[in-house]
């Protein structure tokens, strides 16, 4: 019995070491979205292309879709833009854009130059919708179901690998709504 007691510090060390090792694998910059499984917050904001056209959260409903928060000042957004174009054009996925704290002219020019993957673009000049969505670093991409409920959130560029994850989430949503 006394012998076993001597092993207690070793045991504690192994447990702590295991926990720290696990902790090192985690990415602390990945935050769980507080809005998961909640509807897109209410908003009334102009369209990027047409300043007179007002868009609301209802415009994002009807079909499972991606919502992409982007801006021309964000280099990672440029990096993922080709992938978004590919997703929209080749796979026919609906992508809604939120142009976050940007300049309208620059944003329009960007879409002319690099092509426009977005079905709609919300012009969020003040970042109010971004604030309500809990955006903390563009680009961010959300998966919405047909009812406009947020099902998944990704922070950072949409790469091929990320898209395959998002695609799986979207497929799960569509099978769930059918069943």
């Amino acid at each position: 019995m006394r012998r076993l007691v001597l092993f207690v510090p070793l045991f504690i060390f192994v447990v702590m070491g295991g926990l720290f090792w696990k902790g090192l694998q985690l990415d602390p910059t990945e935050l769980p979205s507080a809005l998961l499984d909640k509807p897109v917050p209410e908003f009334t904001l102009p369209s990027l292309q047409d300043g007179n056209r007002m868009l609301t959260q209802k415009d994002l409903q009807g079909k499972a879709a991606l919502v992409n928060v982007w801006a021309t000042w964000c280099p990672t957004c440029k990096q993922e833009h080709a992938q978004l174009n590919k997703i929209a054009r080749e796979e026919g996925v609906v992508i809604y854009g939120i142009n976050y704290k940007d300049d309208r002219g620059a944003a329009k020019e960007w879409l002319r130059r690099y092509r426009d993957p977005y079905a709609l673009n919300i012009y969020d000049e003040e970042g109010t919708l971004g604030l309500d969505l809990g955006v903390y670093g563009a680009p961010e991409t959300y998966v919405l179901d047909a009812q406009g409920i947020i099902r998944y959130k990704h922070v950072g560029a949409v790469t091929e690998k990320v898209w395959s994850k998002l695609r799986t989430v979207m497929q799960q949503i569509s099978t769930k709504s059918q069943g």
């Binding site: 602390p28 910059t29 935050l31 769980p32 979205s33 507080a34 809005l35 000042w73 964000c74 280099p75 990672t76 704290k101 970042g127 604030l131 309500d132 969505l133 809990g134 955006v135 903390y136 670093g137 563009a138 680009p139 950072g156 560029a157």
Partner: protein, 173 residues
């Protein structure tokens, strides 16, 4: 991802071959810069509002620069959130409402002082449990030691003789 650049507010200074005095001056400057990393010009209607604003921005974490609070972060999102908190403080909303506003958007994560809920019990009460365990262990160890460490200070006859001879030998020298 651009905002990462704003997180490293503390600049790196190369100091080599300088006197201790200069080193101290440089370090003092470094710290003063960190302390005054963000200066907003907000006007408050009274001191209570200002204190509440300072308290809230000190206790809420910047979602982008995770090791900084809202008061100390230079990132654009932190400045947006400071503006938002200022707006709410000025509008007379209470602390709970403002904290709720932050939590519904960014999650419990933004609270530097977590709420006492079932999931944070370990966090809040764990140290006291550990303290209690430590106290019990110390108590048990000291008790055991008291029992085993009682030394018989009386000498038997044989030892008395030995002692006397040893002392005598000392005297001779």
């Amino acid at each position: 991802m651009v905002e990462v650049a704003y997180c490293n507010a503390a600049n790196f200074y190369k100091v080599s071959g300088v006197s201790m005095r200069l080193l101290i001056v440089v370090f003092t400057l470094l710290f003063s810069m960190v302390a005054s990393a963000t200066i907003d010009t907000y006007e408050f209607k009274d001191d209570v509002s200002r204190e509440r604003f300072q308290q809230l921005t000190n206790e809420l974490r910047c979602p982008k620069c995770q090791n900084q609070n809202l008061a100390g972060s230079n990132s654009p999102i932190a400045s947006d959130l400071r503006r938002e908190i200022y707006r709410m403080v000025s509008a007379g909303e209470n602390d709970d409402q403002i904290v709720d506003f932050m939590v519904t958007r960014y999650g419990e994560f933004v609270l530097y002082r977590p709420r006492v809920t079932e999931s944070t019990w370990v966090l809040w009460y764990g140290p006291f449990v550990l303290l209690a365990i430590g106290a019990v262990v110390i108590l048990l160890l000291t008790r055991k030691r008291k029992k085993t460490n009682v030394i018989d200070k009386t000498l038997n006859d044989q030892d008395q003789v030995r002692l006397a001879t040893l002392l005598d030998k000392g005297k001779d020298k």
